[in-house]
């Protein structure tokens, strides 16, 4: 799964630590999700989309 979290985050001038604090996860987890190393669960994906005030499909896309 691809995502645009890094772009959205940098547009808002947030660090990974800022986003981690908002999501109540570790900074390492934010990094793992951003880089596609880890696909978040559906509840966490919704929380991420909500934080950016976007629909989930605007943040996460299928790889193909």
């Amino acid at each position: 799964m691809k995502n645009v979290i890094r772009t959205l985050r940098t547009e808002r001038n947030w660090t990974q630590a800022d986003l981690a604090l908002r999501l109540n996860v570790s900074r390492n987890s934010v990094n793992a999700i951003e880089t596609g190393k880890y696909d978040p669960s559906l509840p966490l994906a919704f929380r991420i989309a909500n934080i950016f005030e976007l629909k989930i499909e605007d943040v996460f896309q299928n790889k193909d």
Binding site: N24, V25, S26, N28, S29, N31, A32, I33, T35, G36, K37, Y38, P40, S41, L44
Partner: protein, 142 residues
């Protein structure tokens, strides 16, 4: 709450410290005292490990699961390979026996010592495999 004051890794250290201490100091302790302390240390370790797991977020839990499956399995396979090699390479077996001799005690027979050393070796191999896989999981895409 107690657990919230410490990072998750600290809970793991608090949990495992009494077991490590018992393993290191266990031999001089009277057997009845050891038999009382060992289950208490095990329960403490289980409780702290549970708290540690609860404090982890989902990516950290995924890293643990992946590292335990792959690292633990590969580590154990390595230990089995090493054990099998001892059957055909007697010099390797005598090196392993001399390495295990630091755990020797008049209380235990040679067979008991070798059994204990084998269990410790498998545990260490699995732990090393887990650690390597865990580091790989987090470092792979940085």
């Amino acid at each position: 709450m107690f657990a919230r004051r410490f990072p998750p890794w600290a809970l793991l250290i608090f949990g495992l410290a009494p077991i490590v201490l018992l393993l290191l100091l266990g031999d001089p302790l009277p057997k009845p005292l050891f038999l009382v302390l060992a289950p208490i240390a095990s329960l403490w370790a289980a409780a702290m490990t549970g708290l540690h797991w609860k404090r982890l977020d989902e990516a950290a839990r995924a890293a643990h699961r992946w590292a335990w499956y792959w690292g633990g399995s590969i580590g154990l396979a390595g230990a089995m390979l090493a054990a099998a090699s001892m059957l055909v390479l007697p010099e390797l077996a005598s090196t392993a026996a001399s390495l295990a001799s630091f755990m020797a005690s008049p209380k235990y027979s040679t067979e008991q010592l070798y059994l204990f050393a084998g269990v410790v070796f498998c545990g260490v191999a699995q732990g090393a495999g887990f650690l390597g896989a865990w580091i790989y999981w987090w470092a792979a895409k940085r």
